[in-house]
């Protein structure tokens, strides 16, 4: 029989401190029962010092006071029941159903913290996923099992882009391989959550989606568990049930802010901008759960979305994310303001895994060269634009004028595409060649003569 405690010494933000406690373990889950109503809040032991214990509460701590609640130690770590029945269901940030459906019953339980995958057990991801979006497929190719975040800003269409990817991307190799979506909303507006729900409906995948939702007005502390619950479900479906899972998670920025709040309640020494020094490791404990395993079907492809405060890519949240993920898709405000959708800023965007997933046998033999050339030429466009700002477009050299034309066409035709428009990779590559042919051949130093022979549009 586990002991119960009545005395709360201190409540600081999402943390409570109790004393004179015996026989609890680090990470143990506690139930905090409000005596008057019988309402149960959940929490977790995050520090033990002699007989003093600090508990992080996942619900609102308002109203908690000495004497009005009973604290029960459950003797369990934070486990969730796992089953295929998770699919089609909606849960809150600590894994309780919020869709009026029944509880999940299963003998299989998993600890939401997960454990590190042994690098020996991983399979290096190499399979191209066609998203139907030219900029991504050609220049920042998504690979099955990759963690590829979308770096966005407030008001930019990251939700639309994620929804379009969910709708258009083909995850599995063939019909036998099951796929599914795990969606985690962390501190999002009700509208945003509705938007995703509607897009899943439209994409006809609702019965394959597991949703974990923590709304903007839900407790902060629950934001820390929301992604962990979601990834635990994803790991179960991918590695035990051998499905190809796409995890969409928004907004990592809310997650990090919650971390910061808890850290400051714990009076920890902050590092940059008040975020805790362990934020890198903490984010890694989420992102690294993506991947594939050797000799078995199933994968977790991870698309976290984050809004960069002030559109600043050097802010700790995008910065630490970029250091962990396998590239990033960056959205640009200037493109957005010029009505280009999706406003993918290709130069800072990168897919580190694309090298092994493109080319002959995956996409097409010229893919790497076309991508390289588009990057090189478009980066030259930026230089020429800077120059034309100073001396005027009229006074540019003839070659530079061609760069200006190429830049405009590239943005209008290649980057820009419809929310409902899917282009296959061959169409995208051909379009790339078409646009490159606006430049003099002598400028195209990343293309080999063989590919130029084969693909360069012949002028009529």
């Amino acid at each position: 029989m586990k002991k119960e405690y009545l005395q709360i010494d201190k409540v600081v933000g999402p943390l409570i401190q109790i004393s004179d406690v015996d026989d609890v373990f680090y990470g143990e889950v506690v139930d905090i029962v409000e005596i008057s109503t019988g309402n149960i809040k959940k929490g977790k032991v995050i520090k033990i010092e002699e007989k003093n214990v600090i508990i992080q509460v996942f619900q609102n701590t308002a109203g908690l006071a000495a004497g009005n609640s009973i604290i029960k130690f459950t003797g369990e770590a934070f486990n969730l029941p796992m089953s295929l029945d998770l699919q089609g269901r909606i849960f809150n940030g600590i894994g309780q159903p919020i869709d009026n459906g029944s509880d999940i019953f299963s003998l299989v339980e998993a600890n939401i913290n997960g454990r590190p995958i042994n690098p020996m057990s991983r399979e290096y991801p190499r399979n191209f996923i066609q998203t139907g979006i030219s900029s991504i497929d050609t220049l920042a190719t998504l690979i099955r099992g990759q963690k590829l975040p979308i770096f966005s800003g407030n008001g930019l269409p990251h939700n639309e882009l994620a929804a379009q990817i969910v709708r258009q991307a083909r995850l599995g190799d063939n019909v036998n391989e099951e796929f599914g979506v795990v969606f985690a909303a962390i501190g999002v507006k009700h509208d945003d959550e509705k938007f995703f729900r509607k897009s899943f409906d439209e994409a006809n995948v609702m019965d394959r989606v597991v949703m974990f939702v923590n709304y903007a007005d839900d407790p902060i502390a629950e934001r820390v568990t929301t992604p962990r619950c979601a990834l635990t479900a994803a790991e179960y479906l991918a590695f035990e049930k051998h499905m190809h899972i796409l995890v969409v998670m928004t907004d990592i920025t809310s997650y990090c802010e919650a971390l910061r709040e808890i850290s400051s309640a714990r009076e920890e020494v902050p590092s940059r901008k008040g975020y805790p020094g362990y934020m890198y490791s903490d984010l890694a404990s989420l992102y690294e759960r993506a991947g594939m395993l050797k000799d078995q079907v199933g994968s977790i492809t991870f698309l976290p979305i984050l809004t960069m405060p002030n559109d600043d890519i050097t802010h700790p949240i995008p910065d630490l994310t970029g250091y962990i993920t396998e590239g990033q898709i960056v959205l640009g405000r200037d493109l957005f303001q010029r009505s280009i959708y999706p406003p993918v800023a290709i130069l800072p965007s990168l897919s580190r895994l694309m090298k092994d997933g493109i080319g002959e046998g995956f996409t097409r033999g010229d893919h790497a060269e076309v991508a390289n050339q588009l990057f090189a030429s478009y980066s030259k466009v930026q230089e020429v634009r800077d120059l034309s700002q100073i001396i005027g477009e009229e006074d540019l050299s003839p070659t530079d004028k061609k760069y200006m034309a190429f830049g405009r066409a590239f943005e209008a035709q290649f980057l820009n595409q419809g929310f409902d428009e899917g282009r296959n990779i061959i169409e995208s590559l051909d379009l790339g060649w078409q646009l490159l042919s606006l430049l003099p051949l002598t400028e195209l130093d990343r293309l080999s003569p063989e590919n130029i022979d084969k693909y360069f549009p012949k002028k009529a």
């Binding site: 026989d23 609890v24 373990f25 680090y26 990470g27 520090k47 033990i48 010092e49 002699e50 770590a77 913290n113 997960g114 454990r115 590190p116 995958i117 042994n118 690098p119 020996m120 057990s121 991983r122 290096y124 590695f239 920890e268 020494v269 902050p270 590092s271 940059r272 020094g277 362990y278 890198y280 490791s281 890694a284 690294e288 759960r289 991947g291 050097t314 802010h315 700790p316 910065d319 970029g322 962990i324 396998e326 130069l347 800072p348 580190r352 090298k355 790497a368 390289n372 090189a376 980066s379 030259k380 230089e383 120059l387 100073i390 001396i391 540019l396 050299s397 002598t442 130093d445 080999s448």
Partner: protein, 595 residues
């Protein structure tokens, strides 16, 4: 070395805070002693002792630990077992083989698996080179084992032992735990020598003396070998924001550099990157040995989601393994990707200890830890009288890509080569994105003799000249950004044209191209020499008043840009042909203008 553990007092856990725990009743424990903690016997190390209270950093997940559980001493500091069986293997931060962990738990790494180390069941074919009566000094060799196809493990007397050989087993098959030689030391005590011996990770292994480093580590990467060379036994840092190419550069060095042994530490980085190494390295053939490069490689992986205390230890595990092979007389190159994650692990532990932070939350001892680490590099004479060296190449991941943060700044103080990666080069897909203006090598002077003797007498002069041209180009570009290129005089435009060839045709080196990924020094030199030739011939034309637009022959220029792909690494005759073409073209052109 069996310690009677039962007799030593056990500690009692009194506080738990993430990877840091406290214990009571620890008066008999020693500082830096390795301990096991709790029912699962998690592995930890004593990092503070105050009265009977001890603080321990735990190398495994601490979820599930309770106060009141036992802390058991092991009687020795955190140590590695050094012996054959490390090459071709991947270990976690405290030298536990990930392959063995996988046998115990197929997918995820659980806690409480205990102390595993190199295989003690495997039989190795040992050749013993000593006989009774021989005097064996500390660090000398008493036999050999062919550890992999390319590396002979020279069985070493531990650095803290010496004596006269009493008995020797015959050559044959033994495990690392079998006694092979018995020696009698000066105090008349007998010691058994085995293939493996233990060594504490935080104590540098001794050597006879340090010497100057006079030979470069040849990497096959043009921007490094020609412009910013690293000496064998030297130190280098590769700082850069995310996605600028630190790992790619480290992988390139691990694959192609001409060290005998590679120790690669994935310190707080991605799991997939270690998987990639495991999948790719065995398939790559070392141009020197003709065998797979995995045959000379030891991997250490503490990925970013593994326990942070083991990240702190992983760097020491790596360098100790490097020193072990150095002591056999090998040139070892060690890559640490990324040292920033190690520094952050220090910061996290320090934070949990509630130490007074210095800059950005890092502990005040950060600079001294960085210095101590890089000081374990060097060219030395081993105790056994051989030449050995350790070259350390550390990646640095500055927060926000800003080089003025504490880890980059302090690293810069203690390394001699600085390969600064540049975000804007990476955005333009100029790879490797090593910024030639910000990078430097402090080894140019001491290595110039080597380059002049082994590559070409004018190699360093050529390098300096071309680097100056790049500096000039940078100044000119600033002007171009203000007024456009057309207004520049022709001699300056010619500099811009040549600089473009150097950038695209020379400094850019595609790691994914099968020929360009590794380029022999002769070709590196010949390519740059050819560019200089074009530059000088063009300047003759400028004197005749020929405009840059005429001097720039599109066909020749495109051949220059592509010569890295079109001229085979083992047949440089194409470069002479290219020079002939330049001569032919300019002869005709100059004639026109001479009249």
């Amino acid at each position: 070395m069996a310690v009677k553990q039962e007799n030593k007092a056990k500690g009692i856990i009194s506080a738990i805070n993430g990877p840091v725990i406290k214990g009571k009743n620890m008066t008999s424990f020693k500082m830096r002693e390795m301990v096991t903690v709790g029912e699962q016997r998690l592995i930890g190390e004593v990092i503070v002792l105050e009265g009977d209270i001890g603080t321990i950093q735990v190398y495994e997940e601490t979820e599930g630990l309770k106060t009141g559980q036992e802390i058991t001493p092991t009687g020795r500091p955190l140590s590695l077992k050094l012996g054959p069986g490390m090459l071709k293997n991947m270990f976690d931060g405290i030298q536990r083989p990930l392959e063995k962990i996988q046998e115990l738990s197929p997918i995820f790494i659980p806690e409480g698996i205990g102390l595993l180390s190199i295989d003690d069941k495997k039989l190795w074919s040992a050749t013993l080179t000593v006989k009774p009566g021989d005097l064996l000094l500390a660090g000398s060799s008493f036999g050999t084992v062919q550890e992999t196809q390319v590396i002979k493990n020279r069985l070493l007397v531990p650095p803290n032992l010496s004596g006269t050989v009493v008995s020797v087993v015959p050559d044959g098959e033994y495990t690392i735990e079998d006694a092979l030689v018995t020696i009698r030391d000066a105090k008349n005590e007998l010691h058994e020598l085995k293939m493996a011996h233990e060594w504490p990770v935080r104590t540098p292994r001794p050597n006879a003396y340090r010497r100057e480093t006079l030979v470069p580590l040849i990497t096959g990467q043009r921007v490094i070998d020609i412009f910013f060379p690293i000496a064998k036994g030297g130190t280098a840092a590769i700082p850069g924001g995310f996605g600028t190419g630190k790992t790619m550069t480290q992988h390139q060095l691990a694959k192609w550099s001409d060290a005998d042994i590679i120790v690669y530490i994935g310190c707080g980085e991605r799991g997939n990157e270690m998987t990639e190494v495991i999948e790719d390295f065995p398939k790559l053939i070392d141009p020197r040995s003709g065998k797979s490069i995995m045959e000379r490689t030891v991997l250490i992986a503490n990925t970013s989601n593994m326990p942070v205390a083991a990240r702190e230890a992983s760097i020491y595990t790596g360098i100790t393994i490097a020193e072990y092979y150095r002591d056999m007389g090998y040139a070892v190159a060690m890559m640490a990707d990324s040292t920033s994650r190690w520094a952050e692990a220090l910061r996290e532990i320090s934070g949990r200890l509630e130490e007074m932070p210095a800059e950005e939350g890092y502990p005040a001892y950060l600079p001294s830890r960085i210095a101590e680490f890089y000081e374990r590099a060097g060219s030395i004479e081993t105790l056994g009288g051989d030449d050995g060296s350790i070259t350390i190449i550390g990646a640095v991941s500055p927060a926000g890509g800003d080089f003025s943060e504490p880890v980059t700044e302090n690293t810069k103080r203690f390394v001699n080569v600085f390969l600064a990666l540049d975000k804007s080069l990476a955005y333009a897909r100029h790879y490797p994105a090593i910024n030639w203006l910000e990078s430097y090598s402090g080894y140019i002077k001491i290595l110039s003799d080597w380059y002049e003797d082994n590559v070409a007498p004018d190699c360093i002069t050529l390098r300096n000249k071309m680097l100056e041209l790049m500096y000039e180009e940078n100044k000119l570009q600033e002007m171009v950004m203000l007024v456009g290129e057309d207004v520049l005089p022709d001699d300056q435009r010619w500099v811009l044209e040549i600089a473009k060839i150097i950038k695209v045709g020379y400094l850019q080196q595609n790691a994914y191209n099968k020929d360009d990924t590794y380029v022999p020094l002769e070709k590196q030199y010949a390519m740059l020499k050819a560019i200089e030739y074009l530059y000088e011939r063009g300047r003759e034309g400028l004197k005749l008043g020929i405009p840059t637009s005429q001097l720039k022959n599109v066909d020749i220029f495109s051949q220059f840009i592509k010569m890295k792909y079109t001229i085979p690494n083992d047949d440089l005759s194409g470069i002479e042909t290219l020079k002939d073409e330049i001569d032919q073209y300019y002869e005709v052109l100059f004639k026109k203008y001479e009249n």
